[in-house]
Subunit: 104 residues, 2 copies
């Protein structure tokens, strides 16, 4: 969980995950392109994502294609889910306040 | 978002958030106790959580009480939510595979 949240704490890495969601199997150079980022920089980000179990890499000839693994994100989501009842409570309170205000 | 995920990437900080969920308004020393952690260590963790907007602190006399703020967690959750359709797809695929296997 530490590694998942830590891997997600970077905008480039989050963007990579979003791109892989829509275009599974992108190559490392295709991933690097929109960030105008040097390949070694992108490789480091991909290492962090792979260590956290968020991606897998497969080599075909000279091309490395990257795929998303959603398991760890699901765990992170389940952790955050425990707070959901608080959001609901807050919204209920807000609705109550607005209604109260309307009755005045 | 960077700060939220980064703040969540530590087991002590996640545990603090869980405790505050069940016992809102705990004091800093009450929070430090179960971790057998020195007060300065806990203060640093609370600074990280406060910088990420995940807690607020209020001083009453000599006691600092800590409260949870769920907004940033909600945003993090919404980000993770984009991947939900992948989990569903994966489960559908799994069900299909199991059924296929049963038909053999």
């Amino acid at each position: 969980m530490d590694r998942t949240f830590s891997a997600l704490a970077d905008p480039t890495r989050r963007e990579v995950l979003l791109r892989l969601k829509d275009e599974p199997g992108l190559s490392v150079s295709e991933l690097a392109r929109p960030f105008s980022q040097k390949l070694p920089g992108m490789m480091k980000h991909l290492d962090v994502l792979a260590d956290a179990g968020l991606i897998t890499r497969a080599k075909t000839g000279r091309t490395v294609s990257v795929h998303l693994v959603v398991g760890p994100m699901r765990e992170a989501m389940e952790w955050l889910n425990r707070y959901e009842r608080f959001w609901t409570v807050s919204i209920d309170r807000l609705v109550a306040l607005v209604e109260e205000d309307g009755e005045r």
